[in-house]
């Protein structure tokens, strides 16, 4: 990634540059309790103590079943005749176009915390729904925190090369249809390398998986 950012920052990246996907696994990801509470349906500022305790206990119980994998693809960004960004999927999205305005490179990534949390949700859905809801929130926090961790790394490294990282943008948001997931995950070989699969209705399994695009803009 460093090499890509360096060339992109210096404005010497080939126009058709597209790296092969790279995969990394994190040992741990910092836990964001307020976010976990929020995803579980409790506003952090007024969450009952019991709620906090339940979330922390849930983390203790399922923590060992999680892993933190990210796969990413660095590529230079070109624009088609209609002024839309050229990406591994064909659909045009005005919002994404706006998000990537001024960018000359992008990083596509997929992140997953694995099927462990789905397993526990499945178990508690049938025996203790309150706990399933807590786990649902916890899982969402885990994968979002993983995305934030990776995103921060990108932002910080990009800044070293005078590149500004735009806010990440995910399929399914606004006018970018969820159906692009197929080509998106395909470009990352995410099924084979990360175990992220797609159902016929474009749902990802493991469910606690996220895909997103980060645009990179050269600063003057």
């Amino acid at each position: 990634m460093r090499e890509f950012l360096e060339k992109l920052g210096a404005g010497i990246l080939e126009e058709s540059y597209r790296a092969v996907p790279v995969y990394k696994e994190y040992e741990t990801v910092d836990f964001n309790l307020p976010e976990a509470l929020r995803y579980a349906g409790m506003p952090a500022h007024s969450a009952p103590e019991a709620g906090e305790k339940a979330v922390l206990e849930a983390l203790e119980e399922i923590g060992g079943s999680l892993f933190y994998k990210v796969g990413f693809l660095c590529m230079s960004l070109q624009w088609d005749e209609e002024g839309f960004p050229v990406l591994p999927f064909a659909q045009h999205s005005k919002l994404l176009k706006k998000n990537l305005k001024g960018c000359s490179g992008v990083i596509l990534f997929a992140a997953t915390v694995g099927p462990g949390v789905d397993r526990y949700i499945r178990r508690y859905e049938r025996s203790e729904v309150s706990k399933a809801a807590i786990l649902q929130g916890l899982g969402a926090e885990r994968v979002e925190s993983l995305c934030n961790l990776f995103n921060n790394e990108v932002r910080e490294e990009a800044a070293e090369y005078r590149l500004k990282a735009h806010p990440r943008f995910s399929p399914g948001f606004g006018d970018l249809p969820i159906s692009v997931q197929k080509e998106f995950l395909g470009s990352l070989d995410a099924t084979r390398r990360m175990g992220i699969t797609l159902s016929d209705s474009y749902l990802m399994a493991p469910s606690k998986s996220v895909t997103a695009i980060i645009g990179l803009e050269r600063l003057a």
Partner: protein
């Protein structure tokens, strides 16, 4: 020479990477490599010839992703046939003099199977089967199933290979850095399942370099009785000048793999990032190494989709509670198809400390094959405990073994010819660890010697089916001493002789011994201790019996099976002091918070979401309160308080759900009482059919709504998730249900919701439909023709009450 013959005395060398080399040759991102078999045959032949030249014995045809999900059938066939044409040309043109074989390469189909994904196990078997049949036609020497990261998917592929060919099958899994498959299986679990299904060689490939896979390989070598294979990556990748490079050189790779050949690996090659150079170095280095003989080991294993349980070392506890015999509440659950109740019995036993769950759902009036399959699938979705499939119905046994994700324990066979001829073929096909009862056409012998004779007969018969004695566990049958006071002595002697003279594991349903006696626990648990001393390997038992658990933990500690007595100490600390147990159920509890007051301790327990306490208080109250009164005067008011607080945003979803779970515990107490005394459990309100629509697999929202509706007394029929339109309509028509709730999480599945509503309007015009789910809004609900959008569970209850009021 036949490959199985050849590999008895030789190493087998596999090829190296294919995908990475094709990319170098110009394969574009997103392009399917299998198409190159037709468009770029020259490149394929060049790479494969290079591997034969480097000394590979086995080339994987370029068919990794060749399956009917990616290609139309005609193209699939032509691509696989072309792949073999290319590989054969590579074989003929290579000057290498080694034995050469061509394998049909099978990778994962890229769908996560139910319950975590949306793909049916049997559909996966069918997809793999198509590829296998074409591979056989193309003249494959063997089938190589590889890079599988899920045990269930692996089973589907292996089953397809076995059912559609007689070829040797090698199976290789992709392990993560934690030494497990992505969906959790340990190497021992995979060895158990794959050997049970007669894979010819097993091992690991891809994901990591040889050094990172040492732990996985060692575990394979410890448990496997077939040759172990290894096909690692060239270490870990990184990008340099826009190209992927791997961090292990051909020389280092060869040296690392050679060390594992010396430890016992018999089949080796490379995966991503490895090239002809790697294989050349490897075959050169290996020329100086003598293959380590493959020995059959005697370790008895059963497995779930995560782990294996070993028999013959530490005693194994098998929970007996999933069984209708003598349990009215359980019989009622079976008749009402209350799967959740059955699952909770499983989970509770697991929490109580059993390593396996016995599963028996046989009742005369039910369709046992169908129900047993359902229960096995549902149990393995919520619990990682291996299962003991307990049935005398062969059709039920086959369906359960087929869908089981692992190597099951099978209960049971006995010395009767007819029974052995029915059960052993199933075990030979699907794998299994079989309970064999020492009885035959002559009944149950009263002496130990005859039981041992029957055991010998069963061992011999099993061998005819290729089932080894390590896959048998004898139950020499405990008979009650109230009828014959020598009965226990005979059983104990049989346990001893079978274990030590025949060298086979033993198991007992120990509680029979005390039948007809008072305070049975004393006799049963003492008998259990005596049998353990005679070498008993396992017991099918009641884990809620403190006496039994005491014996188990103490025995392990006394027999040096519990390092530093850690398990015992943990167990001892979990036993509640008798005094504390009393105060939990009686007496007035001190108020837990200063400001809030509650109408009764039970209401407080529900509102605070205390499950155990709620159950205990309800049990106590039910001694002199009518169930209907308990529900109407205690449970419903408590739920109303929480429900209203939720609506006013004074409490949040988790608290609402905790209260609902607690209320459910109170209802369960009512059901137990009613099952004992007969009669309906509670007056039901109107029928409510609920489902997550077709294509949608996330159903926690629906489950929340279901729980709350049930708490309010609605007769909820839950059709589950990914439910076809017609199934919803059929259920509504059958029940003439006035209310239907549909849930959808994704925009992509809302059309399925709309279709369901349309069909309902046609075939069940009386039904009111409410919808909910993450993407829905009132506007959306109007657009698809729903009667009401319900934002959350409480709104659904209010709507249901409204509709119900309109009915009368």
């Amino acid at each position: 020479m036949n490959i199985l013959e050849y590999m008895k005395n030789h190493f087998l060398f596999l090829d190296g990477g294919m995908g990475t080399l094709l990319q170098e040759a110009g394969l574009k991102p997103g392009e399917l490599p299998e198409r190159w078999n037709v468009t770029h045959p020259g490149e394929i032949i060049r790479i494969q010839k290079g591997y034969f030249d480097a000394g590979s014995n086995i080339i994987l045809a370029n068919t990794f992703g060749a399956n009917s999900l990616k290609f139309e059938e005609d193209e699939l066939r032509s691509l696989i046939l072309a792949a073999f044409d290319n590989a054969k040309k590579a074989k003929e043109s290579s000057l290498g003099t080694q034995e050469k074989y061509i394998a049909l390469d099978i990778g994962p189909i890229g769908k996560l199977l139910k319950p975590y994904g949306d793909y049916e196990f049997e559909d996966a078997v069918s997809v793999y089967a198509k590829t296998v049949r074409i591979g056989v036609e193309a003249g494959a020497d063997l089938i190589f199933i590889e890079t599988m990261n899920d045990s269930y998917d692996t089973k589907a592929a292996l089953l397809a290979a076995k059912e559609n060919s007689d070829l040797p099958v090698f199976v290789s899994n992709a392990y993560g850095s934690d030494g497990k498959l992505m969906t959790g299986a340990s190497p021992a679990a995979m060895v158990a399942m794959l050997e049970g299904m007669h894979a010819d060689a097993i091992g690991a490939n891809c994901s990591l370099g040889p050094d990172q896979l040492i732990g996985v390989v060692e575990e394979y070598l410890k448990y496997a009785s077939v040759p172990v294979l290894l096909k690692p990556n060239a270490g870990l990748p990184r990008t340099e000048n826009g190209k992927t490079v791997y961090d292990v050189s051909p020389k280092d790779f060869a040296s690392s793999v050679s060390k594992l050949l010396q430890k016992g690996v018999r089949i080796a090659g490379g995966c991503c990032g490895t090239t002809q150079d790697f294989i050349k170095e490897l075959t050169t280095a290996a020329a100086k190494i003598e293959p380590v003989p493959v020995v059959k080991n005697e370790i008895s294993l059963v497995s779930s989709y995560t782990h294996a349980v070993e028999f013959g070392t530490s005693p194994v506890l098998i929970g007996e509670r999933i069984n209708p015999t003598g349990k009215k509440r359980f019989q009622q659950a079976l008749r009402e198809r209350d799967i959740d109740y059955i699952l909770s019995e499983g989970l509770k036993q697991q929490d109580a400390g059993v390593q396996l769950l016995d599963v028996n759902v046989g009742l005369p009036e039910i369709d046992e094959p169908e129900l047993l399959e359902t229960v096995v699938k549902e149990l393995q979705a919520v619990s990682d405990c291996p299962l003991n499939i307990d049935t005398t119905d062969l059709a039920a046994m086959e369906r359960a073994l087929r869908c089981y994700n692992g190597k099951a324990m099978v209960n049971s066979v006995n010395g009767k010819e007819e029974v052995m001829e029915g059960v052993f073929p199933l075990v030979a096909k699907y794998g299994g660890f079989v309970v064999a009862l020492t009885l035959d056409e002559g009944g149950i012998p009263s002496d130990a010697e005859t039981r041992v004779e029957i055991a010998k007969k069963i061992i011999a018969k099993a061998a005819e089916y290729g089932i080894e004695k390590k896959d048998l566990i004898f139950d020499p049958l405990a008979m009650t001493i109230s009828a014959d006071t020598t009965a226990a002595l005979s059983t104990m002697k049989a346990v001893h002789d079978i274990r030590y003279d025949l060298g086979v594991n033993t198991s007992l349903g120990v509680s029979n011994v005390s039948f007809g006696l008072p305070t049975r626990n004393i006799v049963t648990s003492t008998f259990f201790a005596l049998c353990l001393e005679e070498g008993l390997s396992a017991a099918i038992m009641n884990p809620y019996s403190v006496e039994m658990m005491n014996v188990y933990h103490a025995f392990k500690a006394l027999h040096n099976l519990d390092e530093n007595c850690m398990d015992y100490i943990e167990y001892a600390s979990s036993i509640p002091a008798p005094a504390a147990a009393v105060s939990q159920t009686t007496g007035t509890p001190a108020p837990e918070s200063g400001s809030k007051t509650y109408d009764s301790p039970l209401q407080e327990a529900i509102i605070r979401g205390r499950k155990e306490k709620t159950a205990a208080l309800a049990r106590e109250l039910l001694k002199d309160t009518k169930p209907i009164e308990l529900i109407q005067k205690e449970v419903i008011p408590a739920l109303n308080i929480v429900g209203e607080d939720f609506e006013k945003k004074k409490v949040y979803l988790p608290q609402l759900l905790m209260a609902a779970d607690a209320a459910k515990a109170a209802f369960e107490e009512v059901k137990i009482l009613m099952a004992k005394e007969g009669g309906d459990s509670a007056p039901s309100r109107c029928a409510f059919v609920i489902a997550t629509v077709h294509g949608d697999i996330h159903d926690i929202g629906k489950n929340i709504v279901k729980l709350i509706l049930e708490n309010y007394g609605f007769a909820v029929t839950d059709l589950g998730k990914d439910v076809p339109e017609q199934t919803v309509v059929d259920a509504v028509v059958k029940l003439h249900a006035p209310l239907v709730g549909l849930s959808a999480l994704m925009t992509t599945t809302v059309p399925a919701m709309e279709e369901t509503i349309k069909l309902l309007r046609k075939e069940a015009p009386w039904a009111k439909v409410c919808v909910g789910g993450a993407v829905l809004t009132q506007e959306y609900a109007d657009q698809i023709g729903a009667d009401r959008y319900c934002r959350d569970a409480m709104e659904t209850v209010r709507y249901a009450e409204e509709v119900e009021a309109g009915l009368s």
